[in-house]
């Protein structure tokens, strides 16, 4: 009987570790954002964290519950509010998912999960002051819609991290993902990375490349 208690404690420690190392990634899911999604995955993995996204959520489950669980399981979150324009499909609408998930995160941080840390990223400087003025006083990270910009801003965001990869190392991880993505897509029968299976495999590829390239 006494032997069962330590095993339970070890399981809890393992859970805590997983929670400590995961970053919830709240980004637009469209073809124009593919490069930046890969850049985020490469950068997050380079810093020794595991990316999580709502892409993982299987259809059929109650989506809102799973989103809340995902945010709650993550220690950090990155919210990219670049996509504020109307989409092309009729009826043309802006995408509300990203600001909605940011709102959920802020609510969780203020209530049940005070040690959760979040940041906001944008492409255009000062646009967020107009699109989401409730965030006044919170400066976003401006990546300018470029891969190099994402690497630079992730370096600023994770400046206190133990692992400090160079932009060259993040670019190398990005190159690994770019090279491997056709085979991952083909195997999954998918056309873009905005797919549960493809996203998960890209994260594993990025984590492998990070651990091979960055020796800490």
């Amino acid at each position: 009987m006494a032997a069962r208690k330590p095993a339970k404690r070890i399981r809890n420690v393992a859970k805590l570790r997983a929670k400590d190392s995961s970053v919830f990634l709240n980004v637009p899911y469209d073809a124009a954002f593919e490069n930046l999604l890969l850049a985020y995955i490469a950068a997050i993995s380079a810093y020794g964290f595991s990316p999580r996204a709502t892409l993982e959520i299987p259809f059929g489950q109650r989506r809102l519950d799973r989103i809340l669980t995902l945010i709650h399981q993550s220690q950090y979150s990155i919210h990219d509010l670049s996509r504020v324009q109307l989409d092309r499909k009729t009826p043309t609408t802006p995408r509300f998912n990203m600001p909605f998930e940011l709102g959920l995160t802020v609510a969780l941080e203020r209530t049940a999960h005070p040690d959760h840390s979040w940041i906001v990223c944008e492409t255009v400087r000062r646009r967020i002051n107009k699109s989401l003025s409730d965030l006044d006083g919170t400066d976003p990270y401006i990546h300018g819609g470029t891969i190099a910009g994402v690497f630079r801003e992730m370096g600023n965001a994770f400046v206190g991290s133990r692992r400090q990869p160079t932009v060259t190392e993040m670019s190398q991880i990005y190159r690994v993902l770019r090279t491997q993505i056709p085979s991952v897509l083909k195997r999954a029968g998918a056309h873009d990375p905005f797919n549960a299976r493809v996203f998960k495999e890209l994260c594993v590829l990025a984590s492998t490349a990070a651990n091979e390239l960055i020796q800490i």
Binding site: F158, S161, R162
Partner: protein, 76 residues
């Protein structure tokens, strides 16, 4: 200036941590690890890591540059 993320400096996630967290099977993780390891090489001279893509898949031992000029060909 944007505030940085408060990082608690726990150990970096391993590949197995990430795979377990995301629910990628062990066999598929092993395949992905092999695929990445095939691409990453350490340059013996500089000590830096080099990523080999399919387009640049020349073997290290074979020639890296094509001989272009006739004069250079003749001088060999």
């Amino acid at each position: 200036m944007a505030h940085p993320i408060r990082v608690d400096n726990s150990r970096p996630a391993t590949v197995r941590d990430t795979a377990r967290l995301l629910g990628v099977s062990k066999s598929r993780t092993d395949e992905l690890i092999r695929a990445v390891r095939r691409m990453i090489h350490k340059d013996d001279r500089t000590g830096e890591f080099v990523i080999r893509t399919k387009n640049s898949a020349r073997n290290g031992s074979t020639k890296a540059r094509k001989t272009n000029s006739k004069r250079r060909k003749a001088s060999r």
